[in-house]
């Protein structure tokens, strides 16, 4: 490989102030071809700029040094140095989900890439657009077990939407263009580009006006729905007597317009609407048609309405097992319409009667137009009857709790946090476990892109780095990581990143000194044998905050809570708030594994009566 010798870094440090549009001193420019010669690493950054990238979350290492060298001279792309590569991906996810733009990650070969795997899998499961750039040993060393070599494309094949190994620098620009296109279009997801060091250092012609259409032509998922399917949808909707709208993350991924259109659809139809964990915010929580989240820890009214409906309109949700419960008992008497951008989501878990393939926004536009043409009117008498039944379920008030005594109930802590941030421009991330479900149940979301949580993969340690990414994207907003103490400890090295960039993330730790959800399952399913679920040797979170020069707060009693939340919100920098809550609180309502929607545990009194079935025990 002679390319190393050809690489030129002839620009002096003074060049860093040069505007990037002008070619720098060492670049040859050919105006006729609209090209400029530069090393692969610089072409990479230029192409990122062309894709509108402003921020990269990363961690340097040997194989990506050429990119970091180019970054040093670049004044357009901001690099956020995380403390672990997993956090880089979660930060990019937080950035992506709160902005709707593609998050970008830059890590080195070997351990850099393998550390990113959890984040990539998380992004794949939750359909988050991320482009991950990994360094690789030079092409001539690939396969030789070189230092910090890993088969990155092999390892990540199953946890990315697509990945590339760039062996020829001539293909780098089109590869990057295609990668961004693949990550963001259709059902979004993570895309990885593995970049051998010699490719990064080899000289190549950067095309100022690349043929983007050609680079994107290979991947063209269907976004416009089939008009016949839209018409068939309206046919079914016209006959609906006990309808429900079941919305998911596809509504969020489609952009804020989809949420506006959903709101319009709900107004036009008057139909009850439930949202998945990933879909929260697509319909305002205070809309009277909103039944709350559905699924394993969903509301009584949402799950019973799903069970009893005769028409189900699924918009961008995927019949996940957390949502359906026992498949054979799932909404047994309904006509199901499934609108999804991913054809492979259709008939995967649940057989549906009609599939509409397309982007949620386009589907909703087409649907509303068709309904207008056909003069759609909801079937008033039966809809009123259906609502009366739903209101009856609502009266059970399945999310009620009693905040009595001095010990803080976790539900109360989150409810107060929600109430006290009502006037803030607030973004919420969570870790995974009981606190996550309580946040979903007790925090009200009125807008899309405000709720970042690890749904599909259930990654403990997601919330802090995700909040970091959100805060980078929304500097002036209130970003809160609602955490559990066990999850928090999984990625708390990122406190250092918050400190470095003075990112004012508020870490609201629901501290019950247990891996609460594990403890709950052990109580309900494993006879109360609490094997290894106690959070022993916890740090003093106030002192921990102090070591990073952050504010640390603790709320021991219910009377302290408001004061702590106020102080947390008023402190300009990052804050750790340690909220000491009831240790043995369980998360209800709950559909035990192996049970159907109409077989819910509403509270502690129910759990003794309904032991989990043998089949249920083997399920996760």
């Amino acid at each position: 490989m002679a390319t190393d010798g050809q690489a030129r870094f002839s620009r002096s440090a003074g060049d860093t102030k040069m505007p990037k549009s002008a070619p720098a001193a060492g670049e040859k420019r050919d105006d006729a071809d609209q090209t400029a010669m530069m090393p692969g690493a610089e072409l990479l950054l230029k192409t990122l700029e062309d894709e509108g990238v402003e921020v990269v979350f990363g961690y340097p290492g040997g194989a990506v040094l050429p990119i970091y060298d180019a970054l040093f001279k670049n004044n357009k792309i901001r690099h956020i140095l995380v403390r672990h590569e997993q956090a880089a991906v979660h930060a990019a996810e937080g950035y992506a989900r709160s902005t709707g733009r593609t998050g970008v990650v830059l890590v080195t070969s070997g351990p850099g890439a393998t550390n990113a795997v959890t984040g990539l899998t998380d992004a794949l499961m939750d359909s988050v657009p991320v482009v991950c750039l990994t360094g690789q040993v030079p092409t001539h060393l690939i396969g030789n077990d070189a230092f910090q070599e890993a088969d990155t494309t092999g390892i990540t094949r199953a946890c990315t939407k697509h990945n590339y190994l760039v062996k020829d620098v001539e293909t780098l620009q089109t590869t990057v263009i295609e990668a961004f296109h693949v990550a963001a279009s259709g059902r979004p997801g993570p895309v990885l580009i593995d970049l051998p060091k010699d490719v990064l250092m080899a000289n190549v012609a950067y095309r100022m006006e690349p043929d983007k259409a050609a680079a994107q032509a290979r991947y063209m998922p269907q976004t416009d729905p089939d008009p016949a399917a839209i018409s068939a949808t309206v046919d079914i909707m016209m006959r609906a007597e006990r309808p429900i709208i079941y919305g998911g993350g596809g509504l969020i991924n489609s952009g804020p317009r989809a949420s506006e259109l959903l709101t319009e659809l709900v107004q036009v139809t008057g139909w009850p609407t439930t949202l998945t964990l990933m879909g929260l915010g697509a319909l305002a929580a205070d809309d009277r048609h909103f039944l709350g989240m559905l699924g394993m820890h969903g509301t009584y009214e949402a799950n019973l309405a799903m069970h009893g409906c005769d028409t189900m309109l699924n918009l961008g949700a995927r019949f996940d097992d957390r949502v359906t419960g026992l498949l054979s008992g799932f909404s047994p008497n309904s006509t199901k319409i499934h609108c999804d951008i991913d054809p492979s989501s259709v008939n995967k878990n649940v057989q549906v009667d009609l599939a509409v393939i397309g982007d949620a926004t386009r589907i909703l536009e087409a649907l509303l137009a068709e309904m207008k043409t056909r003069k759609f009117k909801p079937h008033k008498p039966s809809l009123d009857k259906w609502w009366a039944q739903i209101e009856g379920w609502r009266k059970r008030d399945c999310l009620k709790f009693n905040q009595t005594g001095k010990i803080i109930k976790p539900q109360y802590a989150i409810k107060r946090l929600c109430e006290m941030t009502a006037n803030h421009d607030v973004y919420i991330t969570t870790e995974v476990g009981q606190h996550q479900m309580w946040a979903a149940q007790y925090f009200d979301f009125h807008l899309p892109n405000r709720w970042m949580t690890s749904g599909g993969l259930g990654t403990m340690g997601y919330g802090l780095p995700a909040a970091l990414g959100v805060q980078v994207a929304h500097a002036g907003s209130t970003v809160i990581d609602i955490a559990g103490e066990a999850s928090f400890m999984m990625n708390m090295q990122e406190l250092s990143t918050l400190a470095q960039y003075n990112l004012p993330v508020k870490m609201f730790i629901i501290n019950n000194e247990w891996m609460g959800m594990v403890r709950q399952w052990q109580e309900l399913i494993h006879g109360g044998r609490y094997s290894e679920s106690y959070s022993a040797s916890l740090p003093d979170f106030v002192k921990l905050a102090d070591t990073f020069n952050m504010k640390g707060l603790v709320a021991q009693h219910a009377d302290d809570l408001d004061q702590v939340i106020t102080e947390m919100l008023e402190t300009p920098g990052p804050v750790i708030a340690d909220i000491r809550v009831t240790k043995d609180e369980n998360c209800f309502p709950m559909i035990p594994s192996g049970a159907a929607h109409n077989d819910m545990l509403l509270g502690p009194d129910d759990q003794a009566e309904k032991p989990v079935s043998e089949e249920g025990m083997v399920l996760v």
Binding site: T153, R157, A158, K161, H162, L165, V182, R218, P343, N347
Partner: protein
């Protein structure tokens, strides 16, 4: 599972970009999602366009078969996916090389059977033959079974290659 699902055998033909890792993507999809592969063949079909065809014989319930096709179609380097078993339109062929070691009457009998199956003799020694037999998988199975009863046998099979009948070209690069 209350009612036993129907398991169907399907031949799925996939046109892919002939690029590194594409076969690993397809195989990884099958293993990662727990689908069956009964046979898989891959070879370049159009060198100029850089296209290869992968023919997969798989089995599963109709719901699983539908999933397999949808999941395959999702992969970026895959241009088109066609189920050749639908409407029974496929011609399928497999080639096997069968080496048999035997003597005497068994040797004469194996030659006679090879003739019946229209197998070609590619190599011979005083106590062995190598036959080439072509046909659908069940014909190849039958031939191999017969040979096994007549001596020591070694088999190399290509796996199924298939194409649709009629005057239409079904697989086009998108």
């Amino acid at each position: 599972m209350s009612d036993t699902p129907i398991i169907e055998r399907h031949i799925i033909s996939v046109l892919v970009d002939n690029e590194p890792g594409v076969l690993a993507r397809v195989i990884g999809l099958f293993s990662g999602r727990g689908y069956n592969i009964e046979s898989l063949t891959v070879a370049e079909t159009d060198g100029q366009k850089g296209l290869s065809r992968i023919s997969v014989v798989t089995s599963g319930t109709p719901m699983v078969i539908e999933q397999i096709k949808a999941q395959l179609a999702r992969l970026v380097p895959i241009h088109s996916v066609r189920d050749l078993t639908e409407n029974d339109v496929a011609i399928e062929r497999e080639l096997a090389l069968v080496k048999i070691i035997n003597r005497g009457d068994d040797r004469i009998e194996s030659l006679r059977i090879a003739d019946t199956f229209r197998a070609r003799t590619l190599d011979s020694t005083l106590n062995s033959f190598v036959f080439e037999v072509t046909g659908n998988s069940s014909k190849v199975d039958a031939f191999v079974d017969l040979m096994r009863s007549l001596g020591d046998v070694e088999v190399a099979r290509t796996g199924v290659s298939a194409i649709s009948r009629g005057n239409r070209i079904d697989l086009e690069a998108k």
